[in-house]
Symmetry: C2
């Protein structure tokens, strides 16, 4: 597939690479330097870029070039694309802005550029974008910091917001498999990327930030097909009247009624997020297997968070599992008298790692339970580390071969960071807020339904 | 007011203070050591606690004692409270658990303890709680880490969740003026605390986490009065059927229909939060003046976040302000041609600190604007630091004497942390998510309405 040249190129040309720290071409080349394939700087003036021999034109590079990143001023872009065609480049990312987003003249030029590219069988991402990342191949073809390695393919129609989300994800230890800033979508669009990412083994979920879809029919066709295979989570800006007005003032185009988008998203089997956190929380869930039904067991070391989480799952039509008598009896055997053995199981503050292990195991073995949420707040007893609680859950999950999904809610702010890392390393998404773990549980059950719909 | 002895005691006795690191009494005494008043450890066995001479009984302390913190085993609590009475103690925090939450026998004992206290004119917070903090007096009478100094008085009915929220707030740089874990509320309850906090100058907002209210009538009476003076934000657990069931399994008592609570909260002028983040986001807003109306101006350096924020304010019935022609004309004079001068004002990615300053000033001067939201995402141009954007907003606000409220949305994850700190130091709440700044704007306008209702 030609899109693979974007994410796993054998060699890259950075056209507009620079040694001048004030230029975007400086950051892009710096970010690409460590890529395992050959990376060639192209600059009409500089003989050397950041210590690497530079070429005046992509055509002079004495090697094949799969991917070209273009960061030259807008007036040189068209000729540069033609040069890439002659060189035999397969894929182009145009970071340069000043095209379709500026008005009719820019739109016309954008179309001409795409025509040139297609003549040579090349595909274009952009223009007016931040670039692309493939964290699993150590590829950062952007001018921003690289995302952490993970399982979410994140596609953003807003470059700035996309970058903001990358930085947020770094801070919150959320990993991406790919980051794709699609810019004006002059050529490669959401549909192309969904198709490509459907078969990308490193991406367990696809998250889309959408401002407006151009070819609605094709978008829906592809989404319908891909959403049977892989969860697609969508966040659409411009939901409200004010938002739509803002979007129209921003892009000059109508954002379209959100009701229409919503209907189309639902028909296409997409999972709809209302906020960035909802989008990320849902996407993170898919390192876990899908549940067989919607019966949720909650285990906790404090009542309050259990109640807040029960409130959240209720919002999405999930049910508190009715535990088997046998399960409750066994829980009663080792939990203290003050503990609640009915779901939500409140092991109370004295619970240690061993209690987490035994309780998680019993709940996962109960045939009335489809999904487990393991909650931990600050242990109130001195000498306790919150990591042992995480380890207990991990041990239970390992022994049971991970057949039922487990989600974690570790709410102790900076105190629980290490425990969350342990869980994440095992593929157990560890959330900090009841609403995040609630919508994650919803996403797993909803995707199960979408897959099974005829 | 007698409650002041809890938060500004001249001297404190820690009864059950210990040198044994495994005991809660170790942490509590350690946390109190730096208090400016005298702090005396009381321990029946230890001659010295953490290097400080200990007393066998509170009555032996050769000084007046305003506040006693009790962490002795439950069977000794009643006698200890009586000793405190004889000593002339004014206020008692009982951290020890094992009373009303264990059943009828415990409830009876709890009542007896309160009777003893009242006989001596003492008030009790607890039992079964984490303790209390007054960050402005360097008082941390709990066994957890101290919260950052701030303007929110946070009262929690769940000790563990309260602690989790303190740790979360530390991580997110949100400050508390007071933290009060009320435990079983055997004596001092929400109503008492609202009354006290209404006059507390260090608390600009009161945030309550509620599982269940005992004396509904008095709660409403006090809330109605206090909410005219100071914003009270309430988060109630057990909103849904599952949640109510969970709460009932947790406490053994019925949580009561949420619809009834909701009606009572609304009648009493409380601001209702649905999540912890909503509670904190609303409470943080009140370092700003109240808006005259509900017309919001948004300035941003990227379209997407402006649209998402417009979506959020719309949810709460706020309006995008219609800017005056004159304002738009003046914006046009210095913003680049690609910028949008209609609200939301999109200064585009090239915007620097000076643009933030000029734009903020023009928007705040526009008589059609009641409230300003200043948004900043990652500046995409190399050599730009996000702090200059924050400084621009601060400068505009200072020059205009802070008459209209300004809220900030700085979305660049770890990249924007320093900028957010600068803003917070000036009393401008700096959020990271559109939904948080949206509900903060709502809280300011809603509280304005509540104050003015007859």
């Amino acid at each position: 597939m030609v899109l693979n040249y974007f994410f796993n190129p054998r060699s890259i040309a950075v056209i507009g690479a620079s040694s001048d720290e004030k230029k975007l071409g400086f950051e892009v080349f710096k970010n690409l330097k460590n890529y395992h394939g050959n990376v060639y700087p192209v600059n009409i003036k500089e003989e050397e870029v950041q210590g690497v021999k530079a070429y005046k034109n992509v055509k002079e590079i004495p090697d094949e070039v799969d991917l070209a990143i273009i960061i030259v001023p807008p007036k040189f872009v068209k000729q540069t694309v033609a040069d890439c065609g002659e060189k035999g480049v397969k894929a182009i990312v145009i970071i340069t802005a000043g095209f379709g987003e500026t008005g009719e003249k820019g739109k016309k030029e954008e179309r001409e550029i795409v025509e040139i590219a297609h003549k040579y069988g090349m595909r274009i991402i952009g223009p007016n974008c931040v670039g692309i990342m493939n964290t699993h191949a150590n590829l950062n073809a952007t001018f921003i910091s690289v995302a952490k390695k993970g399982n979410i393919a994140f596609v953003s129609q807003s470059g700035a917001l996309g970058a903001a989300i990358v930085y947020k994800a770094i801070k919150e230890n959320i990993g991406f498999s790919k980051f794709i800033s699609v810019g004006n979508m002059a050529d490669v669009d959401f549909a192309d990327l969904m198709e490509y990412l459907a078969d990308d083994e490193e991406s367990k979920a696809i998250a889309l930030y959408i401002e407006g879809v151009k070819d609605g029919k094709r978008f829906m066709e592809v989404a319908k097909k891909v959403s049977k295979k892989k969860p697609i989570i969508v966040l659409k800006a411009g939901k409200s009247e004010s938002g739509a007005k803002a979007a129209s003032s921003h892009t000059g185009s109508l954002a379209g009624s959100y009701a229409i988008y919503e209907a189309a998203f639902n028909q296409s089997g997409l999972l709809i997020a209302n906020t960035i956190d909802e989008m990320l929380s849902m996407a993170r869930a898919f390192t876990q297997p899908l549940p067989k039904g919607n019966r949720v067991a909650i285990m906790t070391n404090a009542g309050g968070p259990g109640v807040l989480t029960a409130d959240e799952i209720d919002k999405y039509g999930l049910k508190l599992a009715q535990l088997k008598e046998e399960t409750m009896q066994k829980l009663r055997e080792f939990l203290p008298p003050m503990a609640a053995v009915k779901n939500p199981v409140d092991m109370i503050a004295s619970a240690r790692g061993e209690d987490y292990y035994k309780t998680a195991k019993l709940l996962l073995e109960d045939e009335n339970v489809d999904l487990l949420i393991a909650i931990c707040v600050v242990p109130t007893f001195a000498g306790m580390t919150i990591t042992e609680h995480a380890e207990g859950v991990i041990r239970a999950m390992r022994e049971l071969n991970n057949e039922k999904p487990v989600l974690a809610l570790f709410m102790a702010g900076y105190v629980s960071e290490k425990a969350k890392e342990l869980l994440e390393r095992e593929g157990i998404p560890a959330y900090e807020r009841p609403e995040d773990v609630g919508i994650a549980a919803y996403a797993l059950t909803k995707f199960k339904e979408i897959k099974e719909e005829v």
